[in-house]
Every structure is written in C-alpha cells, then in structure tokens.
Amino acid sequence: MGKAGDAFKSALLAALVTLGLAFPIVALRTDTNLSNQLVLTERWGLTFILAAVVGAGVFLLTLVRPVLAARATPKVSSRTAAPPHPFRRYLPRIGLALLIAFPLIASGIAAAGGPGALKLLDNYGIQILTYVLLGWGLNIVVGLAGLLDLGYVAFYAVGAYSSALLTKTFGLSFWLALPLAGILAAFWGLLIGFPVLRLRGDYLAIVTLAFAEIVRLVLINWVPVTGGYAGLSSIPKPTLFGYSLGSEPGGIPSLIGLPPSPVYRLAFMYYLLLALALFTYWVTQKLRSLPVGRAWEAMREDEIACRSLGINTVTTKLSAFATGAFFGGLAGAFFSAHQSFVSPKSFEFMESAVIVAIVVLGGLGSAVGVAIAAVVMIGGTELLRELDALKAVFGNDFDPAQYRMLLFGLAMVLLMIWRPKGLISTREPTVRLKPQPARGAPSFPSAAE
C-alpha cells in the first residue's frame, strides 16, 4: 500500500494544484464578440482533462522515480571512471562531413518524395546554422569570458542594418559590407562594453538587455534611416565575382547549363554561412591558445585572482565584448543578405534569450555543445511545424506550431534542472599547470614529496 498510496496522494495534490492554476486562465477564455465586447467561453472539460493528465503523470513519476534512481546510481560512478567514448572524438568530424553534404542530402530527400529541398535548406540548414554562428559568437562572451550578455541581438541588429544600408543606400558590394558590418558591430561592442565593465553577473545581464532594447527602440523610431516598423526591404542579394546566383540568364547556374531552380542560390547561401561559422570556430579555437583567450578563461574562473596577477580586466572584457560582437555583426550581415529584408521584429529580446539558452545549454564554452544545443532547440522546435499528423488526434483546430515557443521555454527550464551545467559539461581548461593524472588513478599530490 505505502508506496502506491503516497504516489496517489501526491498525484491528487498535483491534480488539485493544476486545477487551481488552470481555473480562471484555462477554464474561461475571453473572446471579443461582434459588438466588440469581451465575453467568456467556458472550457471546464479541458480544465479537468488537464488536471487529470497532470495527476496521472505525477502518479507514474512518483512510482517510477525510485526504480530509476536505484538503477542509475552505479552507472554514474562507472561513467566517471571510464575513458570518454571514442565516438566523442570523431563527433566534430562526422558533424562537419554531414554539414558539408547537407544540401545534397536535402536534394536527395526531396527527390525521394520528402519535403522540398528548399524548405529543408532554409528552415533547417540555414536557420540552425545561423544560431550555431550566433551561439559561437556569444560563446566568446558568455562561455569563455564569463560575462552574461542578454543583449547580443543588438550586435546582430547592428550588423544586419549596417550591411543593409551599406549595400542598398551606398551601393557597396556584399563582400565589402560583410566585414564592415562585423567591424561596426565590434565598435558597438566597445561602446556598450565600456560603461558596463564595472558590473558583475546579473547586473551586467540586465544592462546589456536594456542596451539591446534601446537599440531596437531606436531602430523603430529613427524612421528616415531605418524605415521604422516597416524596416528595409529589397536589399541586394550577394553575387559571386559579379555574377548572380539566381536562375535568370547571365547567372552562374544558367552559364554552366543547370536547369533553372531557386535551390542554387540557397545552397550557395548555405555554404557561405557554413564558411562563416567555421571561420568563427577557427578564430575562437586560435584565440583560446593566445594570451587574450587565456586571460578570458582565467577571468571567467576568478576575476579577483586575475586582477591580482596583473591581467588588465578592462581590456580583457572589452576585447571579449568586441570579438563576440564582431561575429554577431557577421551573422547579421548574412541575415539581411539572405532575407533581403530587415525589420525590428527580428531583433526582439526573445532572440537574445534563445541564443543565450543555446550557449548555456551547450555547456558554456564547449563549441560542440553549442552546436548540439542549437540543433536540438531550433531543429526540435522547427520539427513541431511538421507534426500535422497530430491533427488527426486532436482535431483540425490543433496547430502544433503554436506550441513551439511554449515548449522552447519549458525545455529551457527542464534542461537546466536536468543538466544545470549544460549538455556537454566536461569543460576542459585549455592549459594546465601540471599534466593531469590519468583518469580514475588516485591523485595525492603530497605523496610524491
């Protein structure tokens, strides 16, 4: 009786609490009727189903959890002693090969009757890679230097608008606008970074958030330059040595005799983005072995110790901010060229939150972790758009895409509770003073002396 009884009790409690939570907000829906008045629609059935589902879930969890915990305990201890699985070593290479082959795979899936190659490339390939690029850029600030920046989207916006204005208004080529957008964003990083350097932790997070909001509000209100809410449209598409990549005559695909299709431009953009992302990765890895990168990591671990050892934390923080901002600017320039349209709607706080979530869930500092987190979070929520089959179960009004951000928020909370240190949490320092003793071997530093 005991165990099941307890489980039943907590299930009942959970169901009652759910009922209390859901009582007004789910059970009574406000709608505007034809004469523009608010009226209530009662949905008691849904409310009770919700409470019953939560109750049943808690009942099962309470019963299952002790069993799982008992089984998991020995596993954990054996895992810490075992050497890392060889798969972990090859993971980046396998990932890279998959990334390079992705446009071909997408065309293959499309040819085999799956969803179209365009959609796969755009919704999955380019979108996920954009977040990987942004995640790797922010990883420098948050993961390496340990400065929580909740306003990264500001640099993304600066890059996007700079590149849009440079190519559209000043007629510069995209290839010139791209680095310029990065440099301008880096300047903004310095500008924003300078006043916030004295702040720590949460305060820094909130001030960067405030700066990002200011940037967004200026974009909305400075209508003559930014176009306000309407944004900037018909931004020129990038060309390759002056040749267009579209299917029109004179474009590269038609010159080499390929049948007309919008896929080529998209594949080109995909590879451009992949190159930008790999460039970011390469620069980050190089910087980590330079003095500045080591100073970042040292500062993340202990700022006071860093200062005591004579590291100038002001320049260290500024360089982290500017470097991170530079890559945010590159991502923004790519975004505006790819969409050929920018508006303040794309640079809301939610974007910053998503990028920070990816970096933190990726394990703060682990580049592979960030990439995995981007695939899981962005790809996972994109997949929800595909689940039309669920309509058969829940009726035609059911739209899985509505649940996208809801589940994203929920996933952030649950992943934090499940793995507070991120998906890949074994973050090895780049340098060690002494070589580490073999894993599992006892380490008694005093025994040798």
Binding site: G20, L21, P24, I25, L148, A210, I214, L217, G409, M412
Partner: protein, 304 residues
Amino acid sequence: MDYFLQQLINGLTLGSIYGLIAIGYTMVYGIIGMVNFAHGDVFMLAAFIALILFLALTQLLGVGSLGLALLIVLVLGMALTSLWGWVIERLAYRPLRGSFRLAPLISAIGMSIFLSNFVQLVQGPRNKSLEPILSNVLVIPVGSGSITLAEKQLLIMVVTAVLLAVLWYVVRHTPLGRAQRACEQDRKMASLLGVDVDRTVSLTFIMGAALASVAGLLWMTYYGVVSFSDGFVPGVKAFTAAVLGGIGSLPGAVLGGLLIGLIETFWSAYFTIDYKDVAAFSILAIVLIFLPSGLLGRPDVEKV
C-alpha cells in the same frame, strides 16, 4: 502649473503600479540573490486572471455592485496568483538552488517565455480590452486652471499605500518577516538557528506574486487593455525601479517605482512619447554604472 500637477498625478499612479511589481523583484533578490526574470510575466498573468474573474463575476454570476466585484477579484486574484508564484518557485527555481550562478536566471528566462506563450495559447493572441470602469473624475481647481483625478487613480494610490503599510508591518513585526530578514543576511546561519529557509523563500515568492496580482488588477483597471506580451516591458521597468531604489530594499523599490513612473510620464509629456521606454532603459544603465547600490541600498562589499 496645472499641467505639471496633472502629470505628477499620472506619474504617481503609474509609479505605484511599478512599485508593487518592483517589490517582488527586490524581495526575491534580497533573499536568494536571483533576478526573477519571470516576475513580469507573473504580473501579466495576474492581469489576465483579474480580467477573467471580473468578467466572470459581472457576466456569469451577475454581481451588480462594482465595488464588491473588484474586492472579490482582488482577494481571489491574489490567492490564485500566489499559487502560481509558489508552483513556479517549487518547480523551476528550487531544484537549482546552490547550482552555478547562471542556472536560475536561465531557468527564469525559460519560465518567462513559457508563461507568455502559455497565456497566448489559452487566451488567444489579441489584445483584450474592457469597457472603462471607475472613470468618474474629481475636478480640483488649481490657480487659473484645474486638474482631474480619476476615481481609479485614487483607488490605485490608496490600495498601494494600504498594501505597503501591511507589507511593512509583516516584514518588521511578524515572525515571518524576521525569518525573511534573517535569510537575507545569512541563509546558512539562519537555517542553523532553526529558520525553515525553504518555507521562507516560498513565502517570499508568494508575497511577491500576491503584490504582482494587485498590480495586475490595478493595471487592468487603469488601462482597460491587456495582452499576453504585456509582461516584458513593465517587468523590465519594475526591475529598473528596484535597482534604482537599491535592490534588496523595500522602501527603495517603492521610491524607485514612483521615480520611474514620474520620469516616464514627464518625459512623454514634455519631450517625445516615442522614446519614453528609451528613457526608462537608459536610467537603468546610468544608475547601475554610476550608483550600483541604488538610492537606498547598502553598498555591496566584495569579500575574497
């Protein structure tokens, strides 16, 4: 002169609401040192709960008296929002206590995203507007002109003042308040001396949510319109208020709230309404940079 006084009244009304939300931020930060990012969305949720309860009372149950309806909404809304506050702390924050510094903040951001999308899902994405209530105005002659004070503005200021008095009494003169202040000073020591820290933190979240619920009701009464995305901007402004007043300080939160309300109102009245949020956000940045411990806060000593 009368224009100035009129803006003063409008600013104080808005500031009272910000102050009530700011208390939730400041109490939680004081006790567990975390920015409860989802607090703005709890406020938004509370405004929805108030709206729905008000409609249910007047339309479904036919409560004729406006005062009675508002009173029931106030009490029931506080209870229901407190329940949300308790559940959120229990599920999303408590498992992360003692985890690394950023974990609760990330969890709170996730909770904030969840709450606003949850409300959007169950209540629909459109703005919900209510016919104006309590709009009768008192006209007070001042010098050559006159200023108007709407009944709802009076209600907002009176309710805020009464609640603050109650809160002040609770924190200063009850065992709960003593436990809270003890946890604020040193959580480990407090638990060694027999203070139930988990319970105290839960109650702090409940109190914060209850005050946010009142703020939600007042917001709904004042503006008569609420949408699922209304949590973010008032939330950030209330946090600004808490920081401006000195985070961790209750009178500071109220003072900060009033100041933010006044600054925002006067900025819109005398300069441009387009950039009023820029003004509020700039103040946050300026205060944190030049006065990191706020107006009434204690300076933060860095111990090694």
